[in-house]
Symmetry: C2
Subunit: 300 residues, 2 copies
């Protein structure tokens, strides 16, 4: 297909065949709602029959089933499973994916996903949206989740260029901002800005949780304000996702944690030595850094 | 005054004399707007003539001046200066406070404030609101800042009970939730839930800021999402406030940082040793902790 034909397909979804989504949790469910609202016929696969009922009530896809056969006619399929299930897919799933379909995933670590899937399917494109919420599961999907959020793809020399362009067009059609990069660089960058925050925020919560004094714990609870709430948010998120990040991006997360711990030690040293001028310089630096990093971000 | 007389005074502010506010930054300016909206005559003192103009434009008080004499007739005065200036007040300020007035402050560390001020003024009450925003200075004050936020007082055996009750009634009249506690316990609790987050969040920003690779830095910037934004917010806040916290709550902050660093080391060890089950248990624990801590908090 030419670029124009791809654009035509994205703009006229009713003339195309269906889009499949495997898994209707936060990302899969949001994709289902988003793609339907843009006229696509969406087929969604769920794992458990308990989930099936709720997914149907929420109309997360036009056709919803626990049977992978509903993917047979899909020309684009999103693997929207938890990260460890993307990296270790069942044979049943692999065999259910039409060879002609374009396949992508939503996993937040890319090197192991790309390594696995490029051997499994000729039209696989590694990608994922940088979007999230505190919610998870079949009740979490929502319209607008991807709006103005990055959608990152990590193509390499083996990637089918037409398949990449199809995912590109779909991503921008649902409001995402398209970014392509190398899978290893991606994993290093997300270790720093997405995975590291989870662990440093979890360590903050554990510091409170390990307090011996019940009265201080109670007082801390009653005084906790928006600063604590914001800094602890991602450390109180989905435990399976945190574990999957650590399991699958181990090297980069350890590198980030090591560098982070040195910065904590440095701050401790400055406070111990009453190096107030140096501390002030550090905090001027971090204030500037944050405004550079968050520029134009709505949630700042 | 009896409790009833104090309540009458709070409910009929026009029949009382004025409330003074020294400093019209985020907290002082918000107090000025809030108290005026409830019918009080507010006299606000600013330090610099440049600030004076803007404070008048924003109508942060009814009378605004750089001259401390406008406090002469005030029966309640809030010292809404930066923490280090509350702890080291000028003689001029001290001499300008009527001996009959009730004095309170807004400093987020209480032991050194109470120690200093109880020797300076017979009707001093140590207190402060747990409220903040990313803004600072004369443009920052806003209505509603204290609504449903804690206002903490740290009375001791020397505190004037009538003065304490007056601050209590004012605090609840502007929507705050009143808490009293011991000053040392307060400083330990805020080190954990308010000051520690500033330093761990600053260390996150420094980890990004110290990156050697410009391409990873750029990529991290373009991928930074709400998780990074939330976790880095307080580390990008007012550098003077962060320094003042460290200078004036040193012992408790170092204790909190030490305990926090051990939790970081523990997470690093679990990831290094592939102790995934243990990591999962930790993350289940922190998820539960956060929902306990944030219960009912709007900003979760």
């Amino acid at each position: 297909m030419s670029k124009e034909q791809i654009q035509y397909m994205i703009e006229q979804p009713t003339k195309s065949r269906c889009i499949g989504i495997v898994g209707l949790g936060l990302i899969g469910g949001s994709l289902g709602l988003e793609l339907q609202s843009r006229g696509w016929e969406v087929h969604g696969v769920v794992h458990r029959s308990a989930t099936l009922k709720r997914a149907k009530e929420r109309k997360l896809a036009n056709v919803i089933s626990t049977n992978l056969e509903i993917l047979n006619d899909c020309q684009i399929i999103f693997i929207a499973l938890p990260l460890d299930k993307i990296i270790n897919p069942s044979n049943h799933l692999i065999n259910s994916l039409p060879k002609s379909a374009v396949i992508t995933d939503v996993g937040s670590v890319k090197s192991p996903v790309v390594k696995t899937w490029q051997n499994l399917h000729p039209r696989f494109v590694g990608s994922h949206p940088m979007a999230g919420s505190a919610e998870e599961g079949v009740n979490a999907g929502e319209l607008g989740l991807f709006n103005q959020r990055p959608w990152v793809a990590t193509p390499n020399s083996k990637t089918d260029i037409e398949a990449l362009e199809i995912i590109h067009q779909i991503a921008i059609s649902i409001g995402s901002e398209w970014i392509t990069t190398d899978a290893n660089k991606h994993d290093e960058a997300v270790a720093l800005i997405s995975h590291l925050p989870v662990f440093i925020s979890a360590a903050l919560l554990k510091t409170l949780g390990n307090l011996e004094s019940k009265s201080i714990n109670q007082l801390a609870k009653s005084l906790a304000s928006s600063g604590f709430s914001d800094t602890s948010r991602v450390g109180g998120g989905n435990p399976n996702l945190g574990k999957a990040m650590a399991q699958n991006n181990t090297k980069e997360i350890l590198k980030a944690l090591n560098s982070y711990r040195k910065n904590i030690e440095d701050l401790e040293r400055k406070i111990q030595l009453s190096s107030w001028e140096q501390l002030q310089i550090d905090l001027e630096f971090t204030k500037q850094l944050r405004s550079d990093f968050i520029k134009g971000n709505q949630s700042n």
